[in-house]
């Protein structure tokens, strides 16, 4: 058991190291294109993040700040030499500021076929109500 934990720690360490190396090469994360639309009970964010698996996806909410990041992992054969690249980088990263009406606890996300969908539900008190007009 303890061995396994050690192994896990090592993996984390190497991953951090590789990130540091990437940072030294002044690699900028890619900005994933996103659509944002409003529904009565939620705001939806849809972003294109091809190459990101469920495990490589990180969604964080800190106060009113939503951070989306994902590691781009593409299995390539050994000895591959790249000759042309339009996607250059190993990470997507994007931040949005949320309004106070968002219920942080209820935020959910899923990634499917490289397409990320984040649902930001609104607090019950902020959902639209139909106002009935009474006859006098």
């Amino acid at each position: 058991m303890s061995q396994e934990t050690n192994k896990g720690d090592q993996q984390v360490a190497t991953r951090e190291q590789s990130r540091d190396v990437a940072a030294q090469r002044s690699e900028r994360p890619l900005l994933p294109p996103a659509d944002i639309y409003e529904e009565a009970e939620a705001i939806r964010v849809v972003a294109d993040m091809p190459g990101v698996s469920k495990e490589g996806l990180h969604i964080e909410v800190d106060g009113t700040e939503l951070t989306i990041s994902g590691d781009i992992r593409v299995d390539t054969p050994e000895g591959l030499t790249a000759s042309y690249a339009e996607i250059r980088g190993s990470q997507y990263y994007r931040q949005f500021i949320l309004g106070k009406e968002i219920d942080n606890e209820g935020i959910s996300a899923e990634i499917n076929n490289g397409e990320l969908m984040v649902v930001l539900p609104k607090k019950k008190t902020h959902r639209p109500r139909q106002i009935e007009v009474k006859a006098a």
Partner: protein, 153 residues
């Protein structure tokens, strides 16, 4: 692997005419370009690479049903055709949603790539994972790297 592309891709300054590269970048329409070249950002984006015995094409097609992607090859011209559907009507109602931001592109697309000569179209394989489609095109026998043995006399 793509962090490595920083190394493989054209070096930004090292040992080259950096001023010209910056200007080329700023005025991309100047000068002659390949007849099949497309501006950067064309959907779907692609990366190309090769090993000793195959050429690999990586197609970044998020949200595209791999079954609906039509891949065809004639000689060394690879054509990708497909359609990406973006959500149109709201999920709950039949109304159009209110968009705050629309950066993604949708609709039908087709893209043509010129590959190195000598790939075997018959033996091409395609594999889809997390919105990235890997197309493997084996090189023909005569295009593969061979080791030449030096014979002793």
């Amino acid at each position: 692997m793509f962090e490595d592309l920083w190394r493989f891709a054209t070096p930004q300054f090292g040992g080259r005419d950096w001023l010209r590269e910056i200007l080329d970048d700023a005025f991309q329409d100047l000068g002659a370009s390949d007849i099949r070249a497309v501006p950067r950002g064309t959907f779907p984006m692609v990366n190309l690479g090769a090993t000793d015995d195959a050429v690999y094409v990586y197609v970044f097609a998020p949200g595209v049903d791999p079954k609906a992607l039509d891949i065809s090859i004639q000689d060394n011209i690879l054509t990708l055709r497909g359609e990406r559907r973006l959500p149109e009507k709201g999920t709950e109602t039949e109304q159009w949603p209110v968009f705050h931001r629309r950066e993604r592109v949708g609709g039908q697309f087709s893209r043509v790539l010129t590959l190195p000569e000598g790939v075997d179209g018959e033996a091409t394989e395609a594999l889809s994972r997390n919105g990235v489609i890997q197309i493997k095109l084996p090189k023909r026998e005569e295009q593969r790297r061979r080791k030449i043995e030096v014979k002793a006399q």
